[in-house]
């Protein structure tokens, strides 16, 4: 860690009078194991490191990055960033983050131990996972990938404006995908478990999820088209929240790309909906002590009881919007800071999924969606995705359904949220999931 700080300090030491320089140095080590047919199919181990340098000079910004920490490359990277700055447009709001007095939280994100676990034990987890999926149901026809992976990443941000922060975290996961067959019908499923140490991983639960997802869709048919109430499974809700988060980016707002741009303080969602971004929650897979500009992570309430409370900002968008950074700069060392939500979750409701299904009576449970990146336009709000799921009849899950789409607009979906489940779970993405009931969604099938 001190080695990374030394490198950053050295580059900062070459800053010229009147220019701001920011150096981000990252290093990660990782192990990835893939098992197939009880044998190791792939085993990869790697260490990678890199540096990103941002120069702001006379309100112009330049950037350069390199995937190595060799001395000759460090000097070249600073020189390139400096040269690039001369071609940018003069922008009075440009500038690096400055210390804002918010203390950096001390989070329990790194535990020594991942590196101490024997390779054989890591491989065994993937072997156990594959075996558990095969044993879960006689209709499981194949397991195409059973993986174990872990990684430790460290990062430092040092600037000429007084930022000097370090962060470090470790995580690991197992994941599996499988195929179930019955007669001519084939369906697929996936399962995973995440943790900060291998001992925290739940192989049995991951196997059961994968098997259930695949087998419960066997025999699925196309539903008939119509407008229905849907219940989103937690995994689908988390993906949906990711899209909502992008609309709340201060950058999208300032550049006229957010459909919520003029709606701060207004009702944008049903009253049951409270949306929070909190990367200081250590349960979140993406928890981190600092943001991409080295400012302290913090908890931000974005939508409170349906009312739009706040957009998220980095130092630049905050300055331009006349406010302060919310600690939402997101980036790797190879890019300049963007703006994004970091660990989204909805305030959970009182009922579990079974109780929600009973309340809904008739509808469709959406167990997975596909084509979210191509079918949802966060600027216009148009929402259309491929989906799979189960019929809800008489308040209970019924026949499986496939090859249909669900469509609405993001605005209408938020307004039509009828209930939020109590089944909050953190997933390996920038959001947590829970069951969500949404009314008046168009299903296109046959």
């Amino acid at each position: 860690m001190s080695e990374l700080l030394d490198i950053a300090d050295r580059v900062i030491g070459s800053a010229r009078p009147g220019e701001q320089v920011e150096v981000v140095v990252g290093r990660s080590t990782s192990t990835e194991v893939r098992v197939y047919g009880g044998e190791v199919e792939q085993f990869a181990s790697a260490t990678s490191a890199g540096i990103g340098v941002r120069v702001v000079s006379g309100h112009r910004q330049g950037f350069a990055h390199a995937g190595t920490l060799d001395d000759d490359v460090l000097a070249e990277t600073l020189a390139e960033a400096r040269d690039n700055a001369t071609f940018a447009t003069d922008d009075e709001w440009l500038g690096l983050a400055e210390p804002d007095g918010v203390p950096v939280p001390e989070l329990d994100l790194y535990r020594p131990g991942v590196d101490a676990v024997a390779t054989e034990d890591k491989i065994q987890l993937a072997i156990d996972l594959e075996r558990a999926v095969r044993a879960a149901d006689r209709r499981i026809a194949g397991v195409d990938a059973a993986d174990y992976a872990d990684g430790v990443s460290e990062g430092v941000v040092v600037t000429t404006t007084g930022i000097r922060t370090v962060s470090r975290d470790a995580n690991c996961y197992v994941s599996v995908s499988c195929v179930a067959s019955d007669g001519d019908d084939t369906q697929t499923g996936f399962g995973f478990s995440v943790g900060r140490l291998p001992s925290e991983l739940d192989v049995e639960a991951a196997a059961a999820d994968a098997s259930d997802r695949a087998t419960r869709l066997l025999g699925a048919t196309k539903p008939s088209s119509g407008r229905v109430t849907v219940v989103l499974d937690p995994y689908v809700t988390a993906q949906f929240l990711g899209i909502i988060g992008s609309i709340l980016s201060g950058e999208a707002v300032l550049k006229g790309r957010s459909l919520f741009a003029e709606r701060l303080g207004e009702e944008v969602a049903a009253p049951v909906l409270t949306l929070v971004d909190d990367p200081t929650n250590t349960l979140a897979y993406t928890a981190s002590e600092t943001d991409g500009e080295g400012l302290a992570s913090r908890r931000n309430v974005l939508i409170d009881g349906g009312r739009l409370e706040r957009f998220v900002h980095n130092a630049y968008t905050a300055r331009r919007a006349g406010t302060t950074s919310t600690g939402n700069a997101v980036r790797g060392f190879a890019s300049t800071p963007g703006v994004g939500c970091r660990a989204l979750s909805l305030a959970p409701g009182a009922k579990d999924q079974a109780a929600l299904l009973a309340d809904v009576g008739e509808g469709v449970l959406i167990s997975s969606v596909s084509g979210l990146h191509s079918g949802v336009n966060p600027v216009s709000g148009d929402f259309s995705t491929g989906a799979q799921g189960l019929c809800i009849a008489g308040g209970e899950l019924g026949a499986p359904l496939r090859e249909f789409t669900i469509a609405s607009t993001l605005q209408r979906m938020l307004a039509e949220v009828a209930a939020v489940g109590s089944d909050l779970e953190w997933l390996p993405m920038r959001a947590a999931g829970l069951s969500l009931v949404v009314r008046d969604v168009t299903v296109s099938g046959s």
Binding site: E39, F63, A64, D91, Q187, G386, E403
Partner: protein
């Protein structure tokens, strides 16, 4: 990049634990980019990465390690790590004699790194100006420029030694238009495996106006219908359909694990007789074109489906060795930090005989899709989905009103059967990035006009 004797030394070290096969992949990549947004040149960026990935195969196990340290100790450490993960029965000393494979990189007219940064910045400003002049409804414009030069060297224990020098240049314009109905977006991109002469072939003003027109047109779009309808796809606008609906299912890794609907079907009729699909990494200057793949195999033209009959799959070295057959030049990887796997290059449906106007005129009611967006497929079931970024209604055999965005869904093998017209107007589409197992590689696609008798359209209108 690194000297030949050092490559041989590293291969010898990689085989020391008894591996059956070892490979060194060295990559040196430089990139430059510029972004204009909101009327400002926000940033110019430069990137540099170099390193080596070493893999060792022993039996069914592949060991892999990568390093950014290209010194002899750095490479030997990576070789030892990869070898430790893939131990063979024997072990001992083996010496590799390297034999250089000649391959010609795509010719480059003007090296982008020799073009002044100010010239690149000027392209961005010209695009911004042209898009803003296209109509009063234009609210926001972004434009980005990118070039990259990727030099690779591959050597393996079979004695192969091959190199390539890949230069790609890209330009993208995005427009947001706003009106009474809310906001809409338009986008145009061009990218080729070529140098700065890309801008002799394309004028950025044209791209900007087309992106603006797309956004402005969609302001008066009505909601897309929902349900099963005939769909006509325009030339160049829908190659992603075949990339998703069939290309991924023909990748030998999916086939060998029996998670492809096309497994075991070579020689069978799997599509309408009008359908011939080719993957071709040799197409001059296209986005997915390479001289060699990332395992050192020269790129090839591979016919996958001919007149509706499945003729072959796509292969990388591992999968081809297992099947005891020749490689096809489809072993690709995102960077030296990744293992190669079976990937497409430029995948396209070949031209047919129909007049494209007749195809529309013969469609009483349906959808005309000028541009498809990204897509996704489940190779095991064949179910796919992709977005329509520019689409129109067809009424009484005529293209009429524009439609809002929505997804199309279908099942690969079923859709291949349902193609009942293929036009004579083949065109390649925009540059794409294909994602698989967390790795992105540049790919191209292309189609002539064609009609699918029935696809499910996921709009909100009844």
């Amino acid at each position: 990049m690194i000297e030949e004797p050092l490559v041989a030394t590293v291969l010898d070290a990689a085989l020391r634990t008894g591996g059956d096969f070892a490979e060194v992949f060295v990559e040196d990549r430089r990139s430059s980019s510029g972004r204009l947004d909101d009327g400002r040149i926000e940033e110019l960026g430069s990137g540099r990465s170099r390193g080596a990935g070493i893999r060792v195969v022993a039996g069914e196990t592949t060991g892999f390690a990568h390093t950014a340290d290209l010194s002899e100790p750095g490479l030997l450490a990576a070789a030892a790590a990869a070898a430790a993960a893939a131990r063979g029965g024997g072990g001992g000393v083996r010496t590799v004699d390297l034999d250089r494979v000649e391959a010609s990189p795509q010719p480059i007219g003007t090296r982008p790194e020799e073009v002044a940064k100010a010239t690149k910045v000027e392209l961005l400003r010209r695009a911004d100006e042209a898009a803003r002049a296209a109509g009063d409804g234009v609210r926001q414009v972004s434009a980005s420029y990118g070039d990259s030069r990727r030099r690779i060297l591959v050597a393996n224990s079979d004695g192969l030694l091959a190199a390539d020098d890949q230069t790609r240049t890209l330009f993208v314009v995005g427009v947001v238009a706003s009106g009474d109905t809310g906001m809409q977006t338009g986008r145009r991109s061009v990218g080729h495996t070529t140098g700065f002469e890309l801008f002799d072939r394309y004028q950025v003003e044209d791209l900007a106006r087309e992106a603006a027109d797309q956004a402005l047109t969609k302001l008066r779009a009505r909601p897309a219908p929902s349900g099963a309808l005939p769909v006509v796809i325009g030339p160049g606008g829908g190659g992603v359909l075949f990339h998703e609906a069939c290309g991924h299912g023909l990748e030998a890794d999916h086939v060998q694990k029996d998670v492809s609907v096309f497994a075991g079907r070579v020689g069978e009729r799997v599509a309408s007789p009008l359908v011939s699909i080719v993957d071709d990494g040799t197409l001059a200057g296209e986005w997915g074109t390479v001289a060699i793949d990332d395992e050192g195999t020269p790129a090839g033209r591979n016919v996958l489906i001919e007149d509706g009959v499945l003729t072959d799959y796509l292969w990388d070295r591992l999968r081809a060795d297992k099947a005891g057959r020749a490689v096809s030049g489809n072993g690709r990887r995102q960077s030296y930090q990744h293992l190669p796997m079976v990937r497409m290059t430029n995948t396209y449906l070949t031209a047919g005989d129909s007049d494209p106007d007749d195809i529309v005129a013969d469609t009483p009611d349906g959808i005309y899709v000028a541009h498809l967006g990204g897509g996704q497929v489940n190779t095991a079931t064949g179910d796919f989905v992709f977005g329509m970024t520019e689409a129109y209604l067809i009424e009484d055999g005529r293209i009429t009103e524009p439609l809002r965005e929505g997804n199309l869904i279908g099942n690969g093998p079923k859709v291949l059967e349902l193609i009942d017209a293929v036009g004579n107007d083949f065109a390649m589409g925009p540059p794409g990035t294909c994602g698989k197992d967390g790795q992105g590689v540049p790919v191209g696609d292309g189609v002539p006009s064609l009609r699918v008798t029935e696809l499910t359209v996921g709009g909100t209108a009844a």
